[in-house]
Amino acid sequence: MAIFNLKKREIECKVVYYGPGRGGKTTNLEYIFKTFRKQITGEMVSINTEGDRTLFFDFLPMGLGKIKGCEIKVQLYTVPGQVQYSSTRKLVLRGVDGIVFVADSLAVRRDKNMLSLKDLQANLKEYGLNIFKIPLVLQYNKRDLEEQGIPIMSVEQLDHDLNRQLKVPSFPGSALKGDGIGVALKECMKLTLKSLQKELKWAQ
């Protein structure tokens, strides 16, 4: 749940990058950290472990400047994707305002994508949130691997697997190359701010 400081006219919201392990969530944040220097307001914090897997979370604070008279601050988080870190994922998800679901385009990760999306739905439900109502975008990562002859799923296949019912904006991307990262974040922010505007009515 975003924090709205009426006195300072400041809104602080939380966007979480969710998805299966090794899908590119941390790489997304690293690219954002390198590329959107102007909007970055602090250091990126990553707590990794064996094999560079996210152990707890990654954190990146951003400032989007003034929108309709209100200073907008955004905190970007990633969750640990590995199945065994379920309780950490749930804790990081608390108070979330918007979600970028980073799916892995590799054909061999098809089941993991679907399981992770189900896990997201279940964790949101525990906080009384509905996956069909929360601002959410999908990013189909690792599209660049097609060039190397590695079997990846088509966008249509991914849409069929993950977005058939959700019908949310989806973006092909490559976190390594930076393709589709900014556009997915911008769309997520647009949906999140629209939802917060409805809830907090700050621009009226």
Binding site: I3, G21, R22, V45, I47, T49, E50, G51, D52, R53, L55, F56, F59, Q75, Q82, Q84, S87, T88, L91, R94, G95, L106, V108, R109, L145, Q148, G149, I150, P151
Partner: protein, 302 residues
Amino acid sequence: MGDKENIKRILQEAELYQGQGLLNEARLKYDEASDLVRNNPKIKNKGKILAGLSKKINLLEVDSQKVERGPSSPELSSKAQDLIQKLFSFSKEESAEEAALEGALALARFGQFERALEEFDKLMANDAHRVVAAKNILRCHIALDSEETAADKYEVWAKGDMFSADQLETIRIFLEQVFENKGLKRKLTVVQAPAEAVVEEKQDEEFIDISAIGIPLESGPGKGKVVEFDVNFQSGNLLSLIISQKDGKLIENLEVDSSFEDLQFYSPIAIFNGSGVVAAKSEIKAGPKQGDYCLDIKITST
């Protein structure tokens, strides 16, 4: 695609998956390649190729085991710990004490037990969170593999006056359950309610039961009025009232030690006047009556 090209393609996939940390997927591809090599009569140097693949599979196995075992939570820098505490104090806008508890719980959740212990120790000063803090102190000691320290800590509390007998019983049951779950048989001291309570009860009998109290307000929104509240608990000359949140404004100007000369007391057998003093006033921070106020009035004369 020829057999050799097929095997080459599978190995390329395996290496890429390995590079991406997708160890199970890499393993499956190396197995697939090994089977193809083994069953293909045209391939020369089969033994050498299979030995190479087997070596790769063994290395993958070691990496997989490391990942599966999961890491022991590393001790983070104090800066990272501060950040965890700050980011996961969700109630900071509503209640500093609640936020402090959330921050300490997050530190423990992220395996920063030493630091969490420091924070829970600070929370022991807080009436509303003392039992929760105590349980988590014990939990942290157990996570640090010092069950003995946890048991000793409980025994110290059992000898002191920081907790009521009921609270100690809650903590004892909790700790014994944790020990039991870990297969440890450790019995802790059972603390009985102090004998003085019986004496007090006898003294209580000297006071008539008061069911409600009328307080004349000298300031605030109810100035000049007499507001009536039910008595929720009586211990001798001490009356405890729970004031709902919506009536909070009526008592906002009452301070501890504020005295009243003309309180009205309502009992089942009589209504009478007397004087009293505000002994305590606090906001209830947890539980179903969260946000309500607890007001203690001590009767000084009737």
